[in-house]
């Protein structure tokens, strides 16, 4: 499908959903290559308050196979649109997440920084639009709600 399918197979997965804790360093490390001079990253973090209501924890659910496939599609779209982007990695966490924990890490690499900022913004906007992942907010007062992008 994409030009780098061969390379991907030889190393860490670039697009993944996982129940393990996320490390930004680990995800950035998946992009390692001597041509990289700049990495931009976005980290989603579980907020303790939404709309003035205290959150107890979040529960993330996915359609895992399709989620990884649409994450890969986002990577392809980025490298099609911004030719200076060398590689993209997106790892999304699933299951119960406490306040302050990381829900998603997006990292993308380039020789020079200029195009990385717009591309990382596109990645997270697009993720919220097409990737089959859902989050349920469970509030401190016992209520709960499935939330889609505000």
């Amino acid at each position: 499908m994409t030009a780098n399918d061969g390379r991907d197979a030889e190393r860490a997965k670039l697009f993944e959903v996982t129940s393990a804790e996320l490390s930004v360093d680990e995800v950035v490390g998946r992009l390692a290559d001597p041509g990289v001079g700049a990495v931009s990253a976005f980290v989603g973090v579980v907020r303790g308050v939404t709309d003035g209501r205290e959150v107890s924890y979040l529960e993330y659910e996915a359609y895992p196979e399709m989620a990884e496939q649409t994450l890969r599609q986002i990577g392809d779209e980025i490298r099609e649109r911004w030719k200076t982007i060398r590689e993209v990695a997106i790892v999304h966490r699933l299951g119960r997440l406490e306040i302050g924990e990381r829900s998603v890490v997006i990292a993308l690499s380039a020789a020079h920084r200029q195009e990385t900022f717009g591309a990382v913004r596109y990645a997270i906007d697009r993720l919220k639009e097409i990737v089959p992942i859902w989050k349920k907010e469970v509030w401190a007062d016992g209520g709960a709600k499935w939330r889609s992008e505000e």
Binding site: Y60, E61, Y63, M66, I124, P132, W134, K135, W146
Partner: protein, 81 residues
């Protein structure tokens, strides 16, 4: 013919199942499937206008014709990140 139908998030909770096997007449479309599911699970009528559908992990429109063995996913509005 038979298809597998998957439910996620609010839909999974409403239907009370993550997955069902559904018998369909040959030539049935996604719209036909949603009509049938809503008859069997009236609770779905609250959601059906917001649902996106994926067949074999690709988003499709309601006119798409289904085939034996398809994996059909009923997806409420996504909200990762």
């Amino acid at each position: 013919m038979k298809v597998t139908v998957k439910f996620f998030a609010a839909l999974r909770e409403a239907v009370g199942k993550t997955e069902i096997e559904q018998e369909l007449p040959p030539g049935a479309t996604v719209q036909d499937l949603l009509n049938l599911l809503t008859q069997e699970h009236p609770v779905l009528s609250r959601y059906v206008s917001y649902i996106n559908v994926a067949v074999n992990r690709k988003y499709v429109d309601l006119q798409t014709t289904l085939r034996q063995g398809d994996e059909v996913a009923c997806l409420p509005p996504v909200g990762g990140g």
